[in-house]
Amino acid sequence: MRRVAVTGIGVVSAIGLNTHEFWQSLAVGHSGIGPIQSLPGVTFKFPNGAEALSFDPFHHLDPKSAGMLDRSTQFASAAAQEAIAASGVSIISERTAVVTGCSVGGKITEDLAYQKLYGINHQRFEPMTIPRVMGNASASWISMRHGITGPCYTVSTACASAAHAIGQAFWMVRNGVVDAAITGGTEAPFAQGLLRAWEAMRVVSPDTCRPFSKDRQGLILGEGAAMFVLESWEAAQSRGATIYAEICGFGMSSDAAHLTMPSAKGAAAAMRSALKDAGLMAGEIGYINAHGTGTEANDRTESQAIHAVFDTPPVVSSTKSMHGHALGASPALEAAATVLSLFHQILPPTANFTSPDVKCNLDVVPNHARSHKMTAAISNSFAFGGLNAVLAFRSV
């Protein structure tokens, strides 16, 4: 089996429209949560979100291409472009894979079409509605744009989508199925119908996202994308590429219990599986980028799971407090945060933290980033439907 290097990162998020801006925000604990602005005139029980407000698709795409893509694919396109350019990789088309994660697909496109249909009985749909809405639009677009002809597909496992995608891409490179992969996740969920559905779940915070705080009130929805270039270690080294981290483990599990209530047992199983896959001992993990949604149930259950796996839990933080919960893209944003943390040896904080919760007895790096020597880290993602995925990384 081959070692696998992360040689390129691309990000679009509420806290930065490229990797540099994203890391600068994480490193100072800057939160991108604010009043939802993309749906003027519509009010929800939750007024706030984490939107990539200054994202301009025309900065990345010609007008005709931009018009063919939902916002989610525009994000993915920009992130993949940045990752590939940053890596300097020469893509060998048939030896490269594209694996993307996305939970809800082109919801904004769909929502606007249905608003016209059901709202004003406008029966004629834009012909690009179907190709914009399809969940695999981003994988297909990246493949087309970069001439990648190897395995190309999309994984949809709700809020773990991108972790399952990145894990599978990692395994394909490790096993020699391909030599490189473009992988990550994207999501653009700020559509009126979808937000109304989230409102009904009663898990979105009326103020902000305070993971692991005693007074946490729920998650804050976010949007964005993160994409990575994964390459075989030898190829990356021989061309002198910058290696941000080694991706070394992937673990999955299913709670097989409840559609929405998380299970500490399932989460712990996924963490143990990732450690085993990586050949890492629990004591070698210096940082956990938590799923850390800021809901009462997740943060308590995730804390239990971490205590079950680690005799002495490592430092934990939830960057969702800054970039929000971008559903299927969240694991990709958090993998980017984890890789950059290892690269810079700095822990991004859990922002908006107020007071500790005895049920979450962890060092969650409250509010201020911290220098921290670490050799390995994991990133947790636990989805509705009880689907868990954990990625493990080593510093170079």
Partner: protein
């Protein structure tokens, strides 16, 4: 009226395809303008919206030049004026 239709068809194709003004003429073929089948669908949609028409599939399939589109829209518009049945 006819020349007005021609100008509107040219305008719709120019805008939908993000082409330079003046690039599309009545004489242009869709191949010359790099209009593929998916582009064609978008043009049909935009023409239907512009003229408040329903362009039947068998008519749409025959459009391979701008002039054919103009002629087709002209005929459909004339038919619509006789029988106002249309979809919104």
């Amino acid at each position: 009226m006819a020349s007005n239709i021609a100008a509107r068809v040219v305008d719709v194709i120019t805008k939908t395809q993000h082409l330079e003004l003046g690039k599309v003429t009545a004489e242009s073929t869709f191949i010359e303008l790099n209009i593929d089948s998916l582009d064609g669908l978008q043009i049909m949609f935009a023409l239907e919206e512009e003229f408040g028409l329903n362009i039947p599939d068998d008519v749409a399939k025959k459009f391979s030049t701008v002039q054919q589109a103009i002629d087709g829209i002209t005929a459909l518009t004339a038919a619509k004026e006789v029988s106002p049945a249309e979809i919104k």
